[in-house]
Structures are given as C-alpha cells and as structure tokens.
C-alpha cells in the first residue's frame, strides 16, 4: 500500500492510498505511530484516498487513537468519505476521533 506523508508546517499529514483493510491496516498503523513519535503527536490522517475500511482497518485506527489518548490526544481524521463516515457512525467509534472537513482545518486545530 502506498502511504504518502506530507509536512504542513509542523504537522505530518499521512495519506494512505487505497482501502484500509487487511494487512494494509497494520502498515498504516505502523506509519501513524512512527510519524506520531517523530512529531510529538502532531499528525493528521487524511482519509481522502481511502474508499472504505474493514474491521482490521477500524481496529488499527482505534488502537492508534487509544494509544494517543494516553498522552491526552486523539487521532485527527480528515476528508473521510460518506462510506467511511457511516462505518464509524454505525460502529459508534466516531467519538474516539477528531473529525475535520479537510487537511487545512485539521492542521489549524493544532494552533
């Protein structure tokens, strides 16, 4: 799976390309945790290029946000499409994350 990372100011934006499922979920989780460690948790997960997530994808996201919650933070998600938003709502996991319309507003939330 291709995972693009981009810096915007002091923030790392992680942009996985493709569905967040199966083995790829672990890869994304590792990428997020690494980036989070390197930038003291200033990360945004851009879901723009993720068409859908499966249970492992959800699990990976929940694990990351729970880990971050130890440090008083939550994983910031942005640009989730309707399918992904619905999955998060239906599984009642939406409240574990911070949601933003786009990368810009997510990045501004760090100010």
């Amino acid at each position: 799976m291709d995972i693009q990372t981009q810096r915007q100011g002091a923030i790392t934006i992680i942009r996985p390309q493709g569905p967040l499922c199966g083995q790829d979920a672990d890869q994304v989780k590792t990428a997020i945790i690494e980036a989070s460690g390197a930038s003291l948790g200033r990360i945004v997960l851009d879901l723009e290029a993720i068409p859908f997530v499966d249970s492992r994808g959800l699990e990976a996201l929940v694990e990351v946000t729970e880990e971050m919650s130890e440090g008083g933070q939550a994983l910031k998600l942005c640009a989730a499409n309707k399918t992904v938003r619905e999955v998060l709502e239906l599984t009642q996991l939406s409240g574990l994350f911070e949601h933003f319309e786009d990368v810009g507003s997510a990045a501004r939330s760090f100010l």
Partner: protein, 644 residues
C-alpha cells in the same frame, strides 16, 4: 487363556474403543468426530500396547515356570529311572549269583524239585519274568513258571556240548542275565534270568506333585495378578498416551482427558487436567485483567483527568524526583512513565535552562513562574516545547510543577505569518512607492508635458491594479483560512476568458522578450463556474510562467477539451522547480528554496489560491517540472458534470 487376553477378538476390541470414546463424547459434545475417532484409535492402540506389555511379561513368566517345571520333572524322571534300573540290576545279579551257586550244588545232588522250588520262589519274590535252567539240548529242567518245564527228570548225564552263555544286557525296561552252570558229574547247563524293570509312576508323582502344585499355584496367581493389573494398565496406558501428547504440545482438554470408567487413576488424572486448565485460564484472565485493573482501579479520577490533558504535567518534589507524570508529558519527553515516576528529573529533562529553573523553584529560592521554550530536533521528534515551571507550595514539602506544551505549530504559524507580513508589506510598498513617485512627476511636470502626464497616469493605473490584485489575493487566502471561500457560479465563456488572458499578458511578454503562444481549439464551450476565480487561477499560473521565465524563453498555453473535461497546460521554459519544492509549492506562503525565486517578488499564495479554486470546481492542478528546463502546470476542470 493368555492368548485371548493379549489379542482380544475384534468384538472385544470394539467394546474397548466404545468404552473409551463414549465418555469423551458425553463430556464434550462439541468435539469434532474425526478428531475423536483419531484420538480414540490412537489411545486404544496405546492401551493395547500397555496391555500387551503386561500380557507378554505374564506369558514369559508363565513359560519360564512351565519350562522349569517340565525340565525339573524330566531330569528327576531320568535320574530316578536310572537309579531304579541300576538297583534292579544289582538285585538281579545278586539273585543270579545266589541261584547259580545253589542250583549247581542242588542239581549235582539231583535235587530237582528243590531247584524248582528255589526258582519259583525267587521268581515270585524278586518279580522275575523268567528264571530257568536250560540244558544244552534246550531242555528246561527248572523254571519259575512250571508250564515251561519240559524235562521232568534230570538225565544222569548229557552230552556236554558247549553251553553258550546268553547275552548279559540291561536296559531301562529289562535286565537279561545268563550264567553257565557246571553240574559236577553230569554236564553243563545255563541259568537264564529275565527281570523287567518296573518304574514306579507313583514315586514320580510323589516327588513331582509338590513342584507341580507350586507351579500351578504360581500360574494361577500370575493370572490373577494379570487380570488385576490389566484394569490398572488401561488407565495407565491412556494416561501415558495423554502425557506423551502433552509433551508434544497438545493442550486441548478434549484430547487429554481419559475415560473416567478406566479407574480411579483416570478420574484423578482428569481432575488434575481440570485443575491445570482452570489454573491456566486464571493466569490468562489475570494477565488480561491486570492492566485493565491498573487502569480502571488504580487510577483515580484526578489522575485520569490529568491524563486527558493535552499538556504535559510533571510534579517534582524537593529531591528533584518526579512524583507524578501524566501521559502527555511522557509523550513530549519521549520516555516511559514508569521510568520517570520516582526517578531524578535530570534523567528525562535534558534541557539545562529548564533543569536550572526546576532546581531553583524546588529549592524554594525562586517563587515566580518561569516559561522556557526549547526547540528540540533529531530522532526523538522535532518541535518546540514550552516548559512552564511554577512552584507548588505546601506546608510539608516544597515542589515544582512543570507544564509542557507543544507550541511547534504556533511557532511555525507565527514564522509564516511574519514572513507573509514582511512579504506583503514589500509587495504593497512597491506599487505604492511607484504611485507616489509618478503622482509627484505628474504634479511637477504634467502641466508642462502632457506626454509625461499620460505615462505617469498609466503607470499609476497599472500599479493601482496591481495593488488591487494583491489585496484580493490576500483576502482570498484569509477566506480560505477561515473556510468561507465560496464560489459564485455563473456561465463562463471560455473563448472570451482566454482572449482576455492573452491580451492581459501580451504587453508583459513582449516587454520581457518572451514568446507567448496560445493554442486554443477552434470552438470553446461555456462552462458553469466562478468566472473571477477561474480567471485568478489562470492569471496566477500564466503570471508565474512569465515571471519565472528569462528573456528569449517561451511560454505556451495549450487548451484542449473533451467530453467531460477542460485541460489547460501552461508550459514554460523557465527556471523550473526542484522535486523537493514541487511537493510544497501549493502550500500556503511557500516559496521555492531556489535563490532565483527569492529575487522575484511574490507572496507564496498564488498557487495555493489557484489550486483551491480549481478544487472547489471539482478539478485539479498538477505540476511536472525539471530544474533549468521549465515547468508544465496542468489544470483540469470537469465540464459535463456539474461541479460540486
């Protein structure tokens, strides 16, 4: 009997299998049948093996007893028979010696009847089969059996032919003796004796009866022991099998349990297994519950609240040890909480000024709040951390509280804002200066020279427009920042748009000596969109192309249209953009690191704006560039589908 036990008939084997499998099935209904069968057959095989071992041992023992008994009997029998026949022979020889001596004397005196009586008595007393005196002409003068006598009177004399003595033999069955007689004055004769050797069976039975009884008793007790052991060994065999499986890593209770009807050992084994299973379950449950308990029980409300803080919090006592550390502090200081609590603060706060401040406050010499910003780099996460250190006073102890905030993004934002303000000031000041200068020129020389005045007014007009566009751009960016950048959709006539675009930049390109070429298709449709904003995007792209292309270069605008999209390529032969810069050129306030870019005025907002506009129309801008070769910006806008 033995054989039957070792190799039970197929019927019996079946019954053993069913005995084994039934408790499993009853106890564990969910178990797969195939696995069940496999295990049972394996178990019963091993069970058989267990039985076979004892059965074989029993058989060997029984055979040893039997062989010992038989060989003992045989040897005894042989020895006894030899002894009996030797004694008989001795007896017969003694009788013979007595008989011939007596017979010689008696016959010499012609006492035939006495001889006959003697023989008859001897035959009866000593159990002789035949005892007779034979003359050379085969006449029998005396015999133990009177019917055999064929000479009633002893002849006075007889031809004294050679009297051969018969063979003297002795075997196990018969002792045959023959002795020549010399009867004085008459002639020679012969005494024949046939004595059967009677082997008394009773004697054998008497001597061997005890041994046989002992052997039989041994066999019977062996059988009883076997029958008793067999049950025990069934359980043992099954348990042995289970132990072997256990040592090979089998953990399933279903596979390890043995049939409880195999005896108390089996029940005890099953109990042991259950106990072990419970214990391991408890261990697992305990292991999983501990962290949860740690979190849920050991953590008070206040601790949980501190952990929910996004600021790091460290409480430090007067010995400069961390008393409390919240989660965020552990993240910011890149250390594990358990390595921090109770340890010296210098172990995890490496910044000298912060340490000095903490020491001062913890010692009570400093009472004021101190704020220190530390910029950290390297592998452990880059950023700017703001440490606020303040004293926490209580009667019993002095302490310091450190609050750590991550202000990296604020600092980055400040920097870019400062850079933007500096850039904007510069951008605004240049046209303003020009305007002021030309206004002065127009005032001073305009009256006298209308040409100068006209020129001055033109420049003022141009600069005023430039100012306007700068202000518009800044406003747009602030709108994007605020998230309220909206489109005013209307019909956009593309042909007019491009014609105006060409006209706007014709003069600039001619002045700079750049060849500007517009490649437009013969017919351009009208699209739905925000004309002003599309215009801004195109102006920014084309303006950049001309701005970063040196004299004698060329710039081309290639417009193509298909069913669903409009594609505008703006190709220049300018200074190009490095691969690293290409990633960031669409970021706000970003200007390429190329020193040539620094010399050219710009806000770093044009491309951000252009891309934002195009994205709002549902399109995209991509860049393809090589340093010193030129750049190609491709703008695509959907046309057939209504943009979102």
């Amino acid at each position: 009997m033995e054989r039957r036990n070792i190799e039970p008939s197929s019927e019996k084997a079946q019954s053993i299998e069913s005995t084994l499998s039934s408790p499993h099935d009853a106890g564990l209904p969910g178990r797969a049948v195939a696995q069940n069968e496999g295990n049972v057959s394996r178990e019963s095989r091993l069970l058989m093996r267990g039985e076979t071992v004892i059965a074989r041992t029993g058989l060997i023992l029984a055979s040893i007893v039997l062989v010992a008994m038989f060989s003992n009997g045989w040897l005894t029998y042989q020895a006894q028979r030899d002894a009996v026949s030797a004694a008989r022979r001795q007896q017969v020889m003694a009788v013979e010696s007595l008989l011939w001596q007596s017979a010689e004397i008696m016959l010499a005196q012609d006492e035939v009847s006495a001889v006959r009586r003697l023989l008859s008595d001897a035959g009866r007393t000593y159990n002789l089969k035949r005892c007779r005196i034979v003359l050379p002409d085969n006449g029998i003068i005396a015999s133990s059996e009177p019917s055999q006598i064929n000479l009633h009177k002893l002849p006075a004399t007889w031809s004294d032919g050679p009297m051969e003595a018969g063979p003297n033999t002795a075997n196990e069955m018969l002792v045959t003796l023959s002795h020549p007689l010399r009867i004085a004055g008459r002639g020679s004769a012969r005494l024949d004796l046939f004595a059967p050797v009677d082997y008394p069976l009773r004697m054998f039975l008497e001597t061997q009866g005890g041994v046989g009884a002992i052997g039989a008793a041994a066999l019977v007790s062996l059988l009883l022991v076997y029958r008793n052991m067999r049950w025990r060994l069934r359980a043992m065999g099954a348990i042995r099998e289970a132990l072997l499986a256990l040592s090979h890593g089998e953990v399933s209770m279903a596979a390890l349990t043995v049939g409880p009807d195999l005896g108390p050992e089996a029940v005890a084994w099953n109990d042991l297994l259950l106990e072990k299973d419970k214990l391991s379950t408890l261990v697992v449950v305990g292991a999983t519950r501990d962290p949860v308990n740690d979190r849920r029980v050991n953590k008070g409300d206040l601790d949980a609240a501190f952990d929910a803080m996004s600021q790091g919090l460290v409480l430090i006592n007067e010995k400069l040890e961390a008393k409390f550390v919240n989660g965020a502090a552990a993240v910011f200081l890149q250390a594990r909480r358990e390595e921090m609590v109770g340890h010296g603060v210098a172990n995890f706060i490496k910044y000298k000024p912060v340490l000095t401040a903490i020491e001062g406050i913890a010692a009570g010499t400093v009472r004021k709040r101190m704020t220190i910003e530390v910029k950290q780099g390297g592998e452990n996460g880059t950023g700017v951390l703001k440490f606020s250190i303040r004293p926490v006073r209580r009667e019993d102890s002095a302490a310091a509280m450190v609050i750590i905030e991550d202000v990296t993004q604020q600092r980055v934002a400040d920097e870019s804002r400062n850079a933007f303000v500096a850039q904007a000031t510069h951008e605004l000041r240049t046209p303003l200066t020009n305007i002021r200068l030309y206004v002065e020129t127009a005032i001073e020389e305009g009256e006298a020279n209308p040409a100068v005045r006209t020129n001055a007014l033109n420049v003022i007009n141009q600069e005023a427009r430039r100012l306007e566009s700068i202000v518009t751009e800044m406003l747009s960016v602030s709108e994007i920042e605020a998230g309220c950048f909206k489109l005013n959709r209307a019909e956009v006539r593309l042909d007019a748009l491009f014609t105006e675009l060409a006209a706007d930049y014709e003069a600039q390109s001619r002045d700079k000596g750049i060849q500007l070429k517009m490649n437009l298709p013969p017919k351009l449709p009208a699209i739905k969109g925000d004309r002003d904003k599309i215009n801004v995007a195109l102006h920014n792209l084309l303006g950049n192309a001309l701005k970063y292309t040196m004299a004698k270069g060329h710039v081309a605008v290639n417009v193509s249209i298909d069913k669903s999209s409009l594609t505008v390529e703006i190709v220049d032969s300018g200074i190009g953009i490095s691969a690293e810069d290409q990633k960031h050129i669409f970021d706000k306030f970003y200007r390429a690191k190329d020193p040539r870019v620094g010399k050219i005025v710009g806000t770093g907002l044009g491309l951000t704006l252009a891309r934002e506009v195009v994205r709002l129309h549902g399109g995209e801008i991509t860049v393809d560039s090589q340093i010193d070769k030129g750049s190609r910006f491709t703008l695509t806008l959907p046309i057939a589908v209504e943009a979102v």
